[in-house]
Every structure is written in structure tokens, then in C-alpha cells.
Symmetry: C2
Subunit: 641 residues, 2 copies
């Protein structure tokens, strides 16, 4: 090897992968698939880099590269800038978008629709009375007769609107106060209430503005969503959502906890979620024309692991028996201690959790239901994400448990699965003639199926007899629609030429088996929870379903596959991202904050991890819809007609 060649080959370039902003140094000529793997990024390539599966398609925004031509990508995609990572060689610094992590549609987290319908039928109060306030005061100048200290004069004026004897102020207010209140005149005062005490957290002179804003945020294992809220009137001014950048460190909470066990990794996970939220704050603030230094309060909900990582706390005890977290109720934290892009004196309140596997996303979610208002009716609350959490009870008692559902309903572990975003099939029907009809989010060519679409296809395949009760293809019925793919036999949902990625959209037996395990985990948890409280399915008055299925979970399909119990359809209510909604309600109202803390304190948690009966229940639920068909009379009738 000549020295000049060796020199040239040794040149290294920076490849930046969006949306994670992960940068990796690679040498000239490295292929992008290897670069992504070096960066520890989840870029799939079932064919192992032979340029045949087409899964590793990426979009390159900036930089020089060399690529082999491949027939796998449609001309249309190539025109849009897509290339296969496995056959693209780095020749300069590059900026690369990972396609499966595109922007998340905001339709699924819009709350205005929800409030129109449910506002008067939820446990929370819909009022604007946050624990943080910004008040415009007219302060008199001090005189020889009125010689109160600056702080005392400020308190005296505040006393006219806020009745308390218990005042405090921060060190940064100590430092700013004289400059802000001399010689008197208008001053903006920002105050935080904690118990009966009011703390002055900021003082500013005009021309600073009067605005005060808050953030309500749901940290999901897969996606993160937030609202920017005007704390003067409660209006949601901006919404943003994206993937959790921690995804590259593992898809579910157990793999994140494991990832955190090596030195520096907890900090990395913490930094990734902070970066994710900061990006969202910036995006939502920009669209809402809100200046981030006026964001004084954030209300964060999420499962217990996500909250531990958000706060940079050791999560390993969550995963170890006896599954006890460090905290359920978390004191207010300074936003600057976490590195959030907010006011210098911003405060962060994480919602209260019940235990290691029932987090503040659930307690916040309960506020969006009437579950805890009524002492007579018994309701069931189900949140299905990567984990499934259940709550049963009423005003007087609450029992809760969690099960590891897996990411199937969020599109994880399913070849044609994807989150509920642009290009996702969210509803699907198989007609009498065997042809498929479907609805795609945003009406583009289909890219895959989100949770509600996956539940539909499973239900339809089963009801039409294309699969048996074990989820195996019945070739005598489905034969003409079964196609071979790299992953084995699959049911053809759409031909490649009608699909966004130019490849056939199919669902395989392995996918179906994953979906059945997921629905089985949820249903057996419901079943066991009921047994624990000595109730039968019939005694449930209402079922509230939260989760990221997409906007239109079809309850009928969910019952047909045995995910939800076979009850009167009027009892079911799909409430969307109730963790985000609940966070918003708690952000807005001190009484809701007290309510959610009260709820979390009296929920009884049942640990399924150590419950031997759970495995029995689960085994019974691994059929379509269930081993015990008597539990699903409406489905039984349907199959036998």
C-alpha cells in the first residue's frame, strides 16, 4: 500500500443522523449502514446489506457520497433524495435523515376535539389557576416615611392580590430586586405557590413582557409530545411531538435500564431526553411565537423509567425485585438543573407515580376520565403503549397493575408496523370479495400500519377466516393473497407499486404472532385484575382506552382479536393521549395537582411480575380471541355464522 493512498483512506468525515442529531466519525468510503451502526442507531436492513430489502433507505440532505444503483427504490423515491444506506459510501461530511423516524403527526395528540366532547365528563376541573403566576405591580418609591425595604414593599403590594404571610424569594431575585423596583413604577413579579408559601422567583421591569407560559409534556418510551400553554388563559398555543431520541439506546424500558448500567450511559440517556424535549419546546415555541425565557413551568408525565431518566436518576431498581422505584412523588426541580430550555428560574414538576410500572402518565390519564368522580359506577382505564397499564375502581377505591405489552401496537417488532404518522394505514377492512379497503393518515401512499390498522387487519384476517385461532394462515382461504417475501409467507396488504417505499406491504405469521402476544398480555392483565378485586367483566360500567394507536381505534376489531373484553360497545371510550391531556390539566390548576397527588396516594398496586396466576391467564389469551370462547359471545356468533 502506498503511503499516499493510506493517507487518503485515513481521512475521516462526520456523519450526522437526523432526527437524533447523532454524529459519528467514519473514514472515507464507509457505507452509511455501517456508519449508522457505529452511531448505535436503529437502522433496519433485513437483507444484511445486500441492497435487496430496501429497508435501509435514507434521505441525504447535505454532503458528497457515492452510491451503487439499485432497483429496490422507486424512481420517485430516488428523485426525493432517498438512497440505500448499505450501498452508499461516505465521501464528505454528511447529514442524513433516518426515514422511519420522520416527524410525528400532531393530529393524534390534538386535544381540542377531546375537550369539546369530554370537558364536562372528566374527573379534573377545567380551570385556569396554575401554581405559577406573573403579576404586573405598580410599586411606589420608598420615602423617608415609607421606608420599608424593597422586598417588604413588594410583599405589601403583593398582599393586595395574594393573601399570605408566608413569603420567600430566590437568590436570583435578591440580586435583581433593587434594579427592578427602583425608583418605583411598574414591575413584573413571577410567583410560585408551594403549599401555603409563595416564592417570588423573578422580578423584571418593563419593557420585559407580561407573558407567562407553561409546558405540558408526555414522555413516552417511543414518542414525546408537548403543548405550550398560555398560563394566563389556559390556551394551548403550540403542540409538537417527535420520537424519543433514547430510541437508539433501546426500544423498551427494560433495554433502556440495561443500557444505563455502563458508566456515562445514564447521563447519555438523560441528555437524549432533554435534547428531545428542548427540540420540541423550540419548535412549539417558534410556531406559537413564544419566547422560551417566558416558559416558567413544565408539567411532565411519563412512565416511571422515563421520569427517572429525565431526572438523571439511577433506574436499575425499577427492574430488580421488589420493583421499587426511588420516587413516586417528586419535588419541584429547577429547569436549569436539568438543562431545559426555559426561564432561568423555571420550575419542573413531574407528576406523581404509583410504582415502578404505573407512572405519572397513568395518574394524569385518570384525570381525563370520570373514573374517580362516581362512587357507584366501576370503570376500567387501559393505557396501551410499549407497556400496558390498567386501573380499575371508582371514587372510593382504585386498583392498578401493569404488563409488558411490547411495542407491537406502536409499530415496533412488526415488519409493516409504524407509528401513527403520515403514511400509516389507520383503518382497514377486507371486503366480501377479499379486496382490502384502507385509510391512510394524511392520504399519501401507504408506508405501513399503525396500531389501529394492525388491530384491524388482525381482526379482519381472523373474521374472514384467512387465519386460524392460533394466527396461522389458512391457505385454503387466503391462498391467492399470500406472497413470499424475505421474511417468509405474508398476506399481501398492498402491491409495491401502490406503496410509498415501492415495496409490497405484507403481514407475516411472525408479525401476527407478535400482535397476539401483545393483545394476550393486555387481556390477561385485565382478567387477573378483575379476579383480584372479585369482579366479573359484566360488572364494569365503562372502559377508557388511552394510547398511541392512532386517532381511530376500532373497538369492534379490538374485541374481535380479544384485546378488549366482549362488552356492550357503548361502554368503551377511546381517549387518545390522556397522559398529555392530564399533564395539561394539572399544569393549569392547583386543584388538579392536589387531585392527582391524592389519587396516586391511594391506588393499590398489584405486581404481576411475581404473580404465578398471570402466566396461566396469558397462555389462555394466546388464541383469537381467547381459549375460552364463552368470554367472547359476539365473536363466537360471528365466526359461526
Amino acid at each position: 500500500m502506498s503511503s499516499s493512498k493510506s493517507k487518503k483512506e485515513k481521512r475521516t468525515f462526520k456523519v450526522t443522523f437526523l432526527p437524533f442529531d447523532s454524529t459519528v466519525d467514519v473514514s472515507m468510503g464507509t457505507n452509511l449502514l455501517d456508519a449508522a451502526r457505529n452511531a448505535n442507531l436503529p437502522l433496519k436492513a433485513t437483507c444484511g446489506g445486500k441492497s435487496t430489502c430496501g429497508e435501509c433507505a435514507v434521505k441525504i440532505f447535505r454532503g458528497k457520497f457515492r452510491k451503487k444503483t439499485s432497483a429496490v427504490l422507486s424512481e420517485d423515491l430516488v428523485k426525493q433524495g432517498y438512497t440505500l444506506a448499505c450501498s452508499t459510501a461516505v465521501e464528505s461530511d454528511l447529514t442524513v435523515q433516518l426515514p422511519q423516524f420522520q416527524e410525528i403527526s400532531l393530529k393524534n395528540i390534538s386535544s381540542s376535539q377531546f375537550f369539546k366532547v369530554y370537558k364536562d365528563n372528566i374527573s379534573a376541573i377545567y380551570e385556569v389557576n396554575p401554581v405559577i403566576k406573573r403579576i404586573l405591580l405598580q410599586l411606589p418609591s420608598p420615602t423617608l416615611e415609607d421606608n420599608y425595604s424593597d422586598l417588604k414593599r413588594l410583599e405589601r403590594e403583593l398582599q393586595k392580590t395574594i393573601k399570605t404571610e408566608d413569603w420567600d424569594c430566590t437568590y436570583s431575585v435578591l440580586k435583581k430586586l433593587a434594579g427592578a423596583v427602583r425608583p418605583g413604577g411598574k414591575v413584573f413579579v413571577t410567583l410560585l405557590k408551594s403549599g401555603k408559601k409563595w416564592t417570588v422567583v423573578d422580578v423584571e421591569k418593563p419593557p420585559e413582557k407580561e407573558g407567562i407560559y407553561g409546558v405540558a409534556c408526555d414522555i413516552g418510551t417511543t414518542t414525546v409530545a408537548l403543548n405550550i400553554v398560555d398560563l394566563k388563559n389556559g390556551k394551548i398555543l403550540g403542540t409538537a411531538a417527535s420520537y424519543n431520541q433514547q430510541l437508539k439506546c433501546g426500544e423498551d424500558i427494560i433495554s433502556r435500564i440495561n443500557y444505563a448500567q455502563k458508566p456515562g450511559r445514564l447521563q447519555e440517556l438523560h441528555d437524549l431526553i432533554i435534547a428531545t424535549i428542548n427540540n420540541l419546546i423550540e419548535k412549539a415555541a417558534r410556531s406559537a411565537r413564544v419566547s422560551t425565557p417566558y416558559i416558567y413551568y413544565a408539567l411532565i408525565s411519563g412512565n416511571t423509567t422515563m421520569i427517572h431518566l429525565f431526572l438523571n436518576l439511577e433506574p436499575r431498581y425499577i427492574r430488580e425485585e421488589p420493583y421499587v422505584p426511588t420516587f413516586n412523588r417528586i419535588p419541584i426541580v429547577l429547569s436549569r438543573d436539568l438543562g431545559l430550555n426555559m426561564a432561568y428560574e423555571g420550575r419542573v414538576q413531574c407528576g406523581p407515580a404509583v410504582g415502578s410500572y404505573v407512572g405519572s402518565d397513568i395518574t394524569a390519564g385518570l384525570l381525563c376520565t370520570p373514573l374517580i368522580r362516581d362512587a357507584r359506577k366501576i370503570s376500567l382505564f387501559i393505557d396501551i403503549g410499549t407497556n400496558g397499564e390498567l386501573v380499575i375502581g371508582n371514587k372510593d377505591w382504585l386498583m392498578t397493575c401493569a404488563c409488558s405489552a411490547g411495542p407491537a401496537f406502536e409499530g415496533g417488532g412488526i415488519k409493516c408496523g409504524m407509528p401513527a404518522t403520515d403514511g400509516a394505514i389507520e383503518r382497514l377492512k377486507i371486503k366480501e370479495n377479499g379486496r382490502l379497503e384502507y385509510k391512510v393518515i394524511d392520504g399519501v401512499k401507504p408506508k405501513g400500519l399503525c396500531g389501529s390498522g394492525l388491530i384491524d387487519i388482525l381482526a379482519e384476517l381472523f373474521i374472514r377466516g384467512f387465519i386460524d385461532r392460533h394466527g396461522k394462515f389458512r391457505k385454503e382461504k387466503a391462498g391467492s393473497q399470500l406472497v413470499e417475501s424475505e421474511d417468509g409467507l405474508g398476506f399481501l396488504i398492498e402491491h409495491g407499486n401502490s406503496c410509498y417505499w415501492g415495496k409490497n406491504l405484507t403481514i407475516t405469521e411472525r408479525d401476527i404472532s407478535n400482535l397476539i402476544r401483545t393483545k394476550g398480555a393486555v387481556f390477561s392483565a385485565i382478567s387477573l385484575l378483575l379476579k383480584n378485586v372479585g369482579l366479573t367483566f359484566d360488572e364494569i360500567d365503562s372502559i377508557y382506552i388511552a394510547g398511541g394507536f392512532g386517532q381511530h381505534l376500532d373497538i369492534e376489531s379490538a374485541i374481535r382479536i380479544g384485546l378488549l373484553p366482549d362488552l356492550d360497545r357503548g361502554k368503551f371510550h377511546y381517549i387518545g393521549n390522556s397522559s398529555l391531556l392530564g399533564s395539561y390539566l394539572v399544569l393549569l390548576s392547583e386543584r388538579n395537582k392536589e387531585m392527582v397527588e391524592e389519587i396516586s396516594g391511594r391506588m393499590t398496586y398489584i405486581e404481576l411480575n411475581t404473580e404465578p396466576r398471570y402466566m396461566n391467564e396469558f397462555t389462555g389469551a394466546l388464541f383469537l380471541p381467547h381459549t375460552d370462547m364463552s368470554l367472547f359471545p359476539s365473536v363466537k356468533k360471528l365466526i359461526h355464522t
Copy 2:
């Protein structure tokens, strides 16, 4: 000039002046007096640098220098390493000790003596119950049945000793908790009480130690003193005192406030006081064998300006009409926000002030008197430092004012004056035969006179008829003891060969005039305060005198010069550094903290700056002992016999 010479001359060196640790860059050959002036340091040289006055003697510890021989310094001093700054040229980096800023004697701030005598006769409670505690807990491991979160389990155990429902914890505890309490066992918990709320501020596993220490500190304009206290038993483990490093920026509070008005100067003053305190903490902690990360609490008292500078707060409003400070009651501040050498979660509480010129040194000082215990007796409290502060009243009412006394009684502005430290004459008598007898602190050769010595010499000169009522020498009486010096005619206190600095110790008419102005300022304030409350001198039951005069202020002398009113001698009590003592009492006991806050809230402050009658009173007090001799019957009798 040859280029090589120019090169050589351009070489610069660092000169470091102790005890301020001020470093200045000077070029080769610069004399040390100029270097000190470049560093803005207060090095006196009355002769203007002609090597004749000997005032600029410094001690050089390290480095190369070139000096002219001078007869002014005794051989003894030269042997000890002294040299005249004005005739010493810098030839390398140097470390130089400024002699007038030597170590301060701890005798004057020792409190054990005080408590022996007064413990049962003070307003404060002598109890050990600080607002910060460190508790050793035995925590059980979590189990499936006992599945409280770490924080909840901790609270449950704490509840057994501390009854409250109002818990909180800091973010650093959030981060450390899991590591400290798993798998269970012994854990040290540090707790702070604020109102009814307890905040867990630290958690640690053994082998960390159980100790918890506090600092009680008095920040004076001239000197700073502190005690390190064992918060488990209240024992004072170490004491340290030194000059306030801010001295180089001005001798009194007005010059410090003025100094702070240029950009960066407030920060400089703040840094200097923090450095002063950190040095003292280190010194006291070393001698007490206390590790500074176990110091969790500091109780700071001082005049309002000192406290503003300590907290890095704009002080200028203190000096501007209507003389209103930013704060009187100051919330707890984190020690790390100030840069103090304490525990990471250390807390700093500044005592409550009454106004711009009556600070927390006074409110703390009141605790060391019985003044606020009794509703029948009327007491007067006087603290004489660079400022003089007065309080009159009893259990039911308190009236206070302040006057600008000047630093004369602390040795400032007086040629032979010095603080009450080694070598200071603290007691002095002129015998019948005109010879002087005196007592020197630590028994070394005299260096000068501290406050009590100055009061004695003034009284003796007056009573023996060596000066008249205006403070002018009566040559017919004092003739033989008057000597000429650079500053004019002076009364010889001691011959140079018996003095430490080898120079005559004299007191001039200018010195005497300064002392008279100082005592006049204090007395006229007492007089006006009494008139304000409609009382006469006779109605005062007790007078408590605090200040840095040295250990033995002679009340008789103080009355003879007209500093204190001519009352029954049994009514006077000299209580030393009551600001430090009071800080110690407040540090130790939550009830004392509440008491001092209560006192500060109900003291009525009279502003002398805007009181026209004050000038009249002052003019009358510019005589020895006073224009109105009927106020001083015992002195009148003494002169006329």
C-alpha cells in the same frame, strides 16, 4: 537606550501582598511602596517615600529584592525580615506581608468567658436545637410487601423522630438517594427545617461520618470573626478572625459603597469578603479538625452594607435618601451560590436587619442582653464600631438609630491607633508623677493603641490637665512630655527604643480631635435617642456596650471623655463582640432565630441623617466631656478637685 537593556527593564514580576493575596504585575526595579499603591493597598508612608517615617515597613517572605540601608528600622526588625517598602526594589516575584494587617488576636472574641457570666441573664435561650440536623437512620430493605419508594421509606423512618407531614427534598438528594439507601442499612440524613416543612438536603452512607457543623460569623467593616460549632452539642470547636479583605477598597461603609459603583467592583468586593470568610473557615476548621464538607449551615451577621456585599447585592440605595435597603429579612441562600467553602448543600442564613444603618449585627447583639426580657426596666444597647448603633427599650418597645462614628476606636485615622491585637496597648494610666503605665496585649513591645487604650489616654490626658476641654495640649502642664514628630507636636506615650517598630509612640492633637469627634457622634446619638422617646439619662436602668475596643474597655475613662453618660457605674456592662455571640445563639436554636426575627420586625428606626437636631447635639458633644458639664457631675468633681 540599548535594546538589550530595554528588554531587561521590561521584565515584569508578580508581587503578592499578604494577607489580602492581592497580586500586582510590576517591572524590574519598581519599589514596593509603588507596587502596593498599584495594587490599591493601604500601605501608609507619611514621609512620602523618603525612608524616614518607617511606616511602610513590610516583611518579605519569598523572592529577590534590593534594598537601601535605613536607620529607621531597628536591627531587631531587620533580623525578623522587615524592610522599608519605599526603599526596596523588586527583582523577582515576591511575597510580602503588610505588617499592619497581621493576625487578629482571638482573645477579644472568645465567648466562653461571656457565657460563664451572662448565660442566665440574656434574652436568648441557651439550647441546642438548630434548624439543620443530621440523623443516623437504620433503613429496612424494600420487599414485595413493603414496596414504598425509597423516598417514602425514608420519610416513614424519619417520621419516627420528626413529626410532620410536610416533606421535601433537593434535586441532589433525588440523584443520590437510590445509591445511599439500597439495599437498606445505615444512612445519614441531613435535614433542614423551614417553617413547618422539613427538607432532606443530603443522604449519605457510612463510612461518611455523623458530624454536622455550623459557622457563626460576624462580618465587620474592619474585622471578620467566626466560630465553628458542633451542631450536635453546641460546642464551639474553633474560632478565627482576620481583617476584612475589603479594607483595601475603603475603610468605611460609605467608601465601600462608592467603590462598588464602577463595573465589576461589586463582584470584587463580594469575592473579597467570601475569600476572607473562606480563609477563616479553613483556618478554624483545621484547628478544630473539622472537614469543611460537613459544615452545613452558616449564620451571618453584619451591618446592612456588609450583608449586601456578602450577598453580591447592589448597596447604593443604602447611601441614598431615603436610605432604604433592598432587604431586611433575607431568605436562606445556598452556600454554593455564594462560593463558600462548605457542604455542597450548605445553607446560609443572614440575620434580620432593621434598616440601612441598623443591621443584623445589632439584632443578634440584642439577644446577648436581657434588654428584651423585662417590661419594667429600660436598657440601652450601644455597639461602637466604624458605625455606632444604639437601641433603647424593653420587652414592650424598641427604638433604634445609627451614627457614623468613624474608625477611630478601631484604630483607623489615628496615627498610633491599631486594632485590639498583639502589641496593642489596651489599658493605660498616667501616674501622679506624669509617668505612664500600660498593659499590652500579649505582653510584647507596644506597637500602638487599640480603642480601649485610646479612650484611656484621652481620659488621662484630660483628667491630668495635659489637654484642655477642646483637646488642645496645655503646654504648661504637658510640656516635658511633648515631642515633635512628622505629624506635628505629640504627647510621648513610649520612647522608640521600647517600641516594637523602634519609633516613638505619640498621640497628636489631630488624633485627639478625631477621637473627640467619634465620641461626640456616639454621645449625641444617645442624647437624641433619649429625647425622641422622652426619657432622661437617669431613667436608663442598664447600658450594654458592644464593640471591638479590646477586652477591657474602662467605663470610667469612657465616661470621663464623654463617650458614655455619667451614670451609676453598676449600670454598665461591656459585652464584647455580641454580633458574633448572637449569631452563635441563633445558629444553635430555632427559637432564637424566631426571636431575633420578631425583634427586628418591631424595632422603630430613627434616621439621624435627616434629623436637624442631631447637628446641634453633635456640636455640644465636641468638648471634653461635654459643653453641658452638668451632664457629667462625677467628671466635673474630678476636674475641680
